[in-house]
């Protein structure tokens, strides 16, 4: 389908991920939405790599790097979320208002 299709899909997925991040109350779901956004970006990168080939397949390699980073990030993020949920006994982020002014 041409690059435009892939990019459109990518942007839609990104929007969905953003919506999930902003609209859901569960902390873990927010992290899941972040993963969605990562994936959307990866898709667009690989699409560019296919249609506008850069030197040394930079797009695909970069997508791989992003995957690694995402893995690290979700690891640490989940550890944090687990700690927070254990402390406050609830996964709902709008209960975490200690930094409220």
């Amino acid at each position: 389908m041409g690059i435009q299709g892939y990019l459109l899909v990518s942007s839609i997925l990104f929007g969905i991920g953003a919506f999930g991040f902003m609209a859901r109350r569960n902390a873990i779901l927010m992290l899941i939405s972040i993963e969605l956004m990562f994936n959307a970006v990866n898709l667009s990168l690989v699409a560019f790599n296919a249609f506008l080939p850069p030197d040394a397949n930079a797009g695909a390699v970069f997508a791989l790097m992003i995957m690694a980073v995402a893995a690290a990030e979700v690891t640490v993020g989940l550890a944090l979320v687990i700690a927070i949920i254990r402390t406050r006994q609830t996964p709902e982020v709008d209960q975490y208002s200690d930094l409220k002014e």
Binding site: G2, Q4, Y6, L7, L8, V9, S11, I12, L13, F14, G15, I16, G17, A18, F19, G20, M22, A23, R24, R25, N26, A27, I28, L29, I32, S33, E35, L36, N39, N42, V46, N49, A50, F51, L52, P53, A56, N57, A58, G59, A60, V61, A63, L64, M65, M67, A68, A70, A71, E73, V74, T75, V76, L78, A79, I82, A83, R86, P91, E92
Partner: protein
């Protein structure tokens, strides 16, 4: 894939959402394959479907966050969130559509050996740094998710 994504963000039960996420990831792997990047597709399956999804499911289990069907899964700022998300999508999409990409059909994909060569020659440094990053992440995650040690308290 888009349907999977929508399912992720709208389902009430978080475990259902996690499963929908896995479906989404799987579809993406297929897309990568279509785009002529098999190694990325393989990595997608391995890392996302194999590691991250499992990790998330474990986290859900550990915190029992999904047991209760939460009465109100959405924030009060839902309407604004919809608007903003639509705005982002719309703007980027519109930009994409407007641009004259001016290119032919799919060009060559990325063969496995090409990517491997690229990683170990041109991108050797980022590769090393990523491994360091992963190490740090592991250490951090272990420390953060620890329960307080009974032994230490006994001491």
């Amino acid at each position: 894939m888009v349907g999977g994504g929508l399912a992720v963000v709208t389902l009430r039960n978080i475990i259902h959402s996690a499963v929908a996420m896995m479906i989404c990831f799987g579809s993406l792997a297929g897309m990568y394959a279509l785009l002529g990047a098999p190694i990325v597709a393989a990595a997608q399956v391995l890392i996302y479907l194999g590691a991250i999804s499992v990790l998330i499911l474990f986290a859900i289990m550990l915190t029992q966050a999904g047991d209760a069907n939460l009465p109100a899964p959405f924030h009060r700022q839902l309407p604004i969130a919809i608007v903003v998300a639509l705005a982002i999508t719309g703007l980027v999409g519109w930009a994409v559509v407007q641009t004259d990409w001016g290119l032919a059909a799919e060009a060559a994909g990325a063969a496995v050996d090409e990517i491997a060569t690229a990683i170990f020659t041109d991108y050797a440094l980022p590769f090393e740094i990523i491994s360091l990053l992963l190490l740090v992440a592991i250490i951090g995650a272990i420390y953060l998710a620890r329960r307080p040690e009974e032994d230490e308290r006994a001491n």
